[in-house]
């Protein structure tokens, strides 16, 4: 995708070095971070230097591959297994993370080179899946459409293209007029910071709004479609995604707005029969109570914005029941969120 006029991917590899766009500094600084050890990359995942379901998966695959490379210089027999556990503890809700570590773990048994090429393959697969989601999602797009999205499920959340925003980017590139209402997405403001920045760079018209203005928006403005991503999807179609998605889906249902979730197959968890079984990550209360931003071109961190002697709860995700979701957009097409249809996705041989 475009940054200024240059094409970038979210994460890539150069030899034994993994490079990524540092999302904690966006949109204020465009900066490439690089990691040559798995622990550094783990920290990057945990601290959200890289975030978003697909991008976390790609990063976890690379972290696993780095661990295999590092093991060659480390004689502790459990080094790689310990590394796997450490990578998997960074973001417990993200299904793609576990999908990627398992795949690279298997390949790594044939050596570090095989681990790196599996991690590369997963990153490429992630990008291909996002592009296919965009193509299938085009069935929902039309000239003059208004879309509402929550959090960032754009190209920064994947290796490229994104999930929820892939059809938006594609429609725009094919000359359709698209308008996007971007939920700011407290507490980390991924909407106001990342989605808005992506849309600006692609030249797509958009407006940021407070998260809980959704009902007002649907009542007062033309909104044709809600598109969100997912961090884990249970086999019955329940979706774990950024906090606020569940609330938005309830409001969408009540007000008759179609609500679609876009995600690749690697986000579906075959071992998870329904949403109540998805572990929900709780993050530090400081994300709610303090904020960072810029003033006079200087980055200022840890600004207290709430009553200093109060506490906060900060669930990073919630679970939206399948009954509230109009459809799931996958790299194999759009389906209703029903168990027998989801199972079919996994039966279909890949082309």
């Amino acid at each position: 995708m475009l940054v200024g006029k240059t094409h970038y991917k979210t994460i890539w590899r150069e030899g034994h070095t993994v490079k990524l766009i540092d999302q904690t500094l966006l949109p204020f600084r465009f900066s490439i971070a690089q990691y040559s050890d798995y622990r550094g990359l783990c920290m990057a995942i945990r601290n959200m230097n890289i975030r978003g379901a697909g991008a976390i998966g790609a990063a976890a695959g690379y972290a696993m591959a780095l661990a295999f490379a590092e093991a060659q210089m480390n004689h502790k027999p459990t080094f790689v297994l310990d590394a796997k556990k450490e990578i998997e503890s960074t973001r417990p809700t993200a299904r793609n993370l576990f999908f990627a570590t398992e795949k690279v773990w298997e390949s790594g048994k044939k050596g570090a080179a095989a681990a790196f090429s599996e991690a590369d393959r997963l990153a490429a697969e992630n990008e291909d899946a996002a592009r296919a989601i965009g193509e299938y999602g085009m069935a929902l797009m039309f000239d003059g459409i208004s879309v509402n999205t929550h959090c960032n499920a754009g190209w920064l959340g994947f290796v490229d293209w994104g999930s929820a925003l892939a059809p938006v980017f594609m429609a725009h590139r094919r000359g359709m007029k698209v308008y996007v209402y971007v939920d700011e997405t407290r507490p980390r403001l991924q909407g106001a910071r990342l989605t808005a920045w992506e849309l600006e760079n692609e030249g797509i018209a958009h407006t940021i709004l407070p998260d809980h203005a959704g009902a007002w928006l649907f009542r007062n403005k033309k909104v044709d479609l809600i598109l969100t991503g997912a961090d884990r999807i249970a086999m019955n179609g329940d979706v774990a995604n950024k906090i606020g998605t569940f609330e938005k889906a309830i409001v969408a249902k009540a007000m008759g707005i179609p609500f679609y979730v876009a995600a690749p197959l690697s986000t579906f968890d075959p071992d998870c029969s329904h949403g109540d079984l998805i572990p929900i990550e709780h993050r530090d209360e400081g994300e709610v109570l303090r904020i960072s931003g810029i003033k006079n071109h200087r980055l200022i961190e840890d600004i207290t914005i709430a009553n200093p002697r109060s506490h906060a709860i900060n669930p990073a995700f919630d679970v939206t029941p399948a009954s509230l979701i109009t459809g799931l957009i996958t790299e194999q097409g759009i389906i209703e969120p029903k168990e027998h249809l989801i199972k079919t996705l996994f039966d279909t041989p890949k082309t």
Copy 2:
């Protein structure tokens, strides 16, 4: 109410000077602002140095009285009428503002002294109404209750006690255990800043959470009751209140949580038959895109927190239809939000 261990009111008069707690600096600085001319007080209302339905009403009454006093030194015949229009243009949604300017306008015909005493009477009435709302609201409270509230409808939003929080304060003072989940309330964070600060000062257990975590909260924690205030109530029971109230009411209905709105009669608009007729104030996009806070005990303002080249929409209020509201708590009792019951409130002679 208590600030540290001292009792305060939100706004009061000393001769021809009106003093108020500056809410834009809370919870970081406790500071008293004072105004001796109506224009200064208008600016304070517009900039939200004083805010909240009841407090705006009291401030508008005092502003109108100041205008009558100033008119004695000003020979322009339309001075007071112009002042009235200026006061009424500060916050278009707040019903209490128009209620107060009308009342003081009528009294002022008998001179500035009469205007001041009418403004005093309105402020006292506001406090009495809030206390009565607390008493009637006690019917909903019990030992061990968990309440969720949006924005600040506590004592800072009135002259004292508050609307939604009046029953909470009263229950706590009478020895009941009360827990409050406080929506942070973007963009101005009245929940995280003002409500949390009030609750801390009264020693009431509470937690701040992102606004759109409501559905997660109701699904995962014990929440017995939602209490909000109102900025204007139509005669059919539709309620204009802080942006996000409409969304919360939809979610509450879907999840079976009782949703009560607390407001004095001065918030009801006899000239407004239903919610669609309530004018909704749109505030500057900068409230969404920039923020203030403290770092190392220094107040820092105008920190950019969103993509600097994106825009935002900032509706300050939304309208919740009566059908989503369990009950209205007024100084005359709790009623269902039905037109014939609301009309009865206005027929009852005041004691």
